[in-house]
Symmetry: C2
Subunit: 415 residues, 2 copies
């Protein structure tokens, strides 16, 4: 393998998670030690930071702040939602990337993100190869949605899952406190896949979770839902429901879009951004039952709650970043770091796998049938075998003055 | 002081908190060791448990489960919202309480709650005295609202404050991640007092909190609010706002009631219970700015997040319960346990004070003027001196299988 000497650019993309910075920490701490890597750069707002030549010199940061990244949520470098064009149609962006890479002698490009980001990563790598510019391109996975194919799970999922399961247990204790019952509906992220919503079942398995769980892998019927809630409420005096934000009817129309239609009728404001599947259903359930009904959206809280992180997730996210650097230095390119699960002496072991970026880009992994009950209104115990090892161990940032001490980078612009 | 021998009844009332069971733990562990206390009983659903002779024999619980109460949120015995009548008008309930107390030879009655509960406690104590039934009645404070007079602070407040400050910091990191700015409005509990909303300022003081904070101690003007949000958004590209659920206009009308009117116009469902001040304001801000706007209600999450508790709060709540038992055994009655703050060698010290129940009942302590900025749209640094010692130290339950292990009482009915 030929030694490749030059700078490394790391960029963060897509929705933030509790551990995307853990991967950054793994990348930075490892890259700063490699002789071949002359400089470690961080792109401001993902691929846009490359396009704008807006890069931070990570070598200027203190070791202490870089170490704090491991338990700092969100994307310290700034993220972006920007889709590169098909280079066959318009290669302007690609030529600009090449230009910036040449300017800084970038020979390592690591991109951290979900489905769309792996697509970006794949296209950039392909363009650079076709233009005979030696640069090793590696994808580092992340997404709370856990919907990337060819990896057992995704960094970020488990910490969100742990927060959701924990919060559901706490809400169950809170919700059943009065002598008069109530109905609680919580809305959990996941537009197309029910992985995160399924995590609420961990609470159920402990006797302190939702009675009914609805995921986007099944069509959602409002009338049937109301009947199921009524039945549980009549039987137990309470009802706790978890729904995915992405539940939809048999025609694929999101329930949250029904909420929007109702709001639009007022001709006043546009609720489009304000979620709403759970508030919409809560109103229906209230009208049909007369019960005390409450709707809670976990919203952004579930993807940034580093104070309730899974240490397994944090360590694995770090490992994904670290492995990406080592793989690149070893000559690998055009691959995404993936997780492979094995069981050794009855214990969960996670090892690093590599998967071609051409394969992973733009596939969405759904919750398998075996994890959803026949009625489609709950999760099966089989899911526990999958998820429990991932949420094991408690991670939180150091606390100062009673609140978290998060990383605070200087962000010195690379000249 | 005459020795009084008999059973002790402990009851929990009002909205749950993260630490109301910490006080229960302090009461139970202490009471079970007192020779004068022949039996320790827990009332099922507060005063209703007494009225219904629905009492649990706490002596039947294992020491391990009782110890777990210290980090278990909500009210393990069940809570209630029930207001006793004025005994001069209708003493039915009081006579029933006396009857049940006589049946079980109850000589110690400890009631854990907020303003209304202290009123209940006071009335019961007065009635028993007037009927020459020797029984020592002690109030144990709790309320996340922190609005009880004659105590420096209330058990439950600090843990909710810590969760709010922590979550605001995490949301700030998450919310500023994209190159395109956004506006975030969070709604925090507090119908009449802004203590909890003020806690978001701890995040602000760390550079990761709301830009604007609105509390019910000041009248809220929607137009001025929109202008202030627009100004911050124009200046910084983002805007993070924290509001109390209880913000109201100059006539005292809650902003959430305006939301209700809008919803009612649809003649479809009744939104009454679904909060709404923050969703209502988010819609207005969105219409007026065209910005990306998000509304998040901390809702029940903020009062049951024992996974992010203040260990100072947990220990003080325990102390309040323990001290109540000891005070009762020493002959005290008709008092509430209160917290007195002092500073010794520059360090915060909390000691137990006693205040007559006749004084404390039904007063509401507001956020003092010195903690609110002149513009009425933020909190002052002076508040930090008050709140930081309270949120110090991190408490969480033991975790098993990646999720909290909460107390699970057998709840054996007392014969």
């Amino acid at each position: 393998m030929e030694k490749l000497t030059g700078a490394l650019v790391f960029a963060q993309s897509g929705g933030p998670t509790s551990v995307i910075n853990s991967s950054a920490c793994g990348v930075f701490e490892t890259a700063l030690k490699q002789g071949e890597i002359t400089r470690v750069l961080g792109a401001h707002h993902g691929i846009k930071g490359v396009l704008n030549d807006d890069l931070f010199d990570i070598g200027q940061e203190s070791k202490e702040e870089l170490a704090l990244l491991k338990t700092t949520p969100s994307s310290a470098l700034g993220s972006v939602r920007y889709k590169l064009a098909d280079p066959a149609v318009d290669d302007t962006d690609y030529r600009r990337i090449l230009e910036v890479f040449k300017k800084h002698n970038v020979r390592y490009f690591l991109y951290n993100g979900g489905n769309d980001s792996m697509d970006t990563c794949y296209k950039v790598g392909k363009f650079l190869t076709e233009n005979n510019y030696p640069c090793r391109v590696i994808g580092v996975p992340k997404t709370i949605d856990n919907d990337l194919e060819f990896t057992d799970h995704c960094p970020g999922f488990a910490s969100a899952a742990k927060y959701i399961a924990t919060s559901c247990m706490e809400l169950t204790l809170d919700g059943k406190v009065y002598d008069k019952g109530s109905i609680l509906i919580v809305e959990i992220m996941g537009r197309h896949a029910g992985w995160l919503t399924a995590a609420s079942y961990v609470a159920t398995a402990k006797g302190l979770g939702p009675d009914l769980i609805y995921v986007p892998e099944r069509n959602f019927d409002v009338d049937r839902f109301v009947e199921e809630v009524k039945r549980v409420y009549a039987e137990t005096g309470n009802c706790f429901v978890a729904i995915s934000e992405g539940i939809h009817d048999e025609n694929g129309k999101f329930i949250s879009d029904y909420a929007k239609v109702v709001e639009d009728k007022k001709d006043m404001f546009n609720h489009a951004q304000l979620g709403g599947a759970c508030a919409y259903l809560a109103n229906i359930v209230k009208a049909k039952t007369g019960a005390k009904v409450r709707a809670i959206e976990f919203s952004l809280l579930q993807r940034c709650a580093a104070h309730c992180g899974s240490s397994t997730d944090v360590e694995e996210a770090y490992l994904a970043g670290k492995s990406a650097v080592l793989a690149a230095v070893e000559g690998k390119s055009g691959v995404m770091m993936a997780f492979k699960r094995s069981v050794v002496d009855g214990k969960y072991v996670c090892s690093i796998d590599e998967v071609d970026l051409s394969r992973v880009a733009n596939y969405e992994k759904k919750l398998p049938d075996e994890y959803i009950t026949a009625e489609g209104n709950n999760i099966t115990p089989a899911f526990l075998d999958y998820v429990l090892p991932l949420i094991k161990g408690e991670s939180r940032p150091p606390f100062v003055d009673g609140v978290p001490r998060f990383a605070n980078l200087k962000k010195v612009k690379a000249d």
